[in-house]
Amino acid sequence: MFAIGVVGFLTRRNMIVMFLCTEVMFQGVLVNLVAMGLLHGNLQGQGMGIFVLVIAAVEAGLGLAIVVMLYRRRGTLDAESWRTMRG
């Protein structure tokens, strides 16, 4: 059962280009939670997994709303075009 944890983090090793990658990270965390719950022989991991799912949904909704707003403002999806926010 240990190797499931390995996959759990193997899947979430990226944080680069797009917003979609956060969802991949969520997947990794989810698998990891379930595996650890299984390791300890209880269901808490799966319960937590459901909350991870909820948070992912919330995050996707809000993040996409923000993306749409930024796109309307700037007309591009390039993260570099917001470079002026750099302090």
């Binding site: 190797a3 390995v6 990226n14 022989g41 269901l43 799912l53 949904a57 909704g61």
Partner: protein, 267 residues
Amino acid sequence: MRDSLVYVSYVVSAVIAAGIYAGLPKDGKAAQRGATVFAISAGAAAVVYLLHRMLGSVSGHVVFCVLSALSIGAAVRVVTHPRPVYSALYFVLVVLATSALLIQVGAEFLAMALVIVYAGAILVTYVFVIMLSQQSPETQGRISSMLDYDRSAREPFWACVAGFMLMATLAGMIVERSWGEPAAAPGAGHYRNTVELGKLLMTDFAVSVELAAVLLMVALVGSIAIARKRLPSAAEFVGTRRRVRLGRRWSRFEQKAQRHGSSRRGD
């Protein structure tokens, strides 16, 4: 034995990081097909490692390895694919493989919820947003016709190095520790995952469930408020129209006065 496994895990992480680095679209030119194949095979190398690690420990590890290879390869493609739509589709593949993994360890409800929520709802939202906001012209699938920021990744090398560090650390820790057998693997007898999970959610996690509901509501309202177009409300709208009409009349008056004044000055 265990030390060598640690090094193997480091090597695997390095290979995957290098594969991602090779597969990432870089300045001007897209990732070559060979690089893509390399990235995928890097995922396969990870699976070989996993096979090596799991031999004889758990039954059904072949299925497990295939599924994890699938999810890793698809995740690599999500990160490296230059087109957002395709990377969303690869993400569907990741979700499906993950849910199959969850089914394999006996978390049926979570697997179904994953497919429904992710592949059903979240991905549709993603695809909608991508289609709303994508302007890269679709000419014969040529990469040169794509947008600049789809073609080149930002700081790919250092991102890969950071990912490698993270992954190598985690892998080393996981490999180093002895985990022992999973305690009392559920799944025997008349154990039903969904029922048990529902009981757990309604007893131990009841407050959290309510909090999650509130959170979803707030996020709904908030995202609508953020993404709403700035349409003027009805009262404002009437007001602006009147102002516009008045302004137009005033400007006409001004023009007339100007013309009058200029003609008089001309006299």
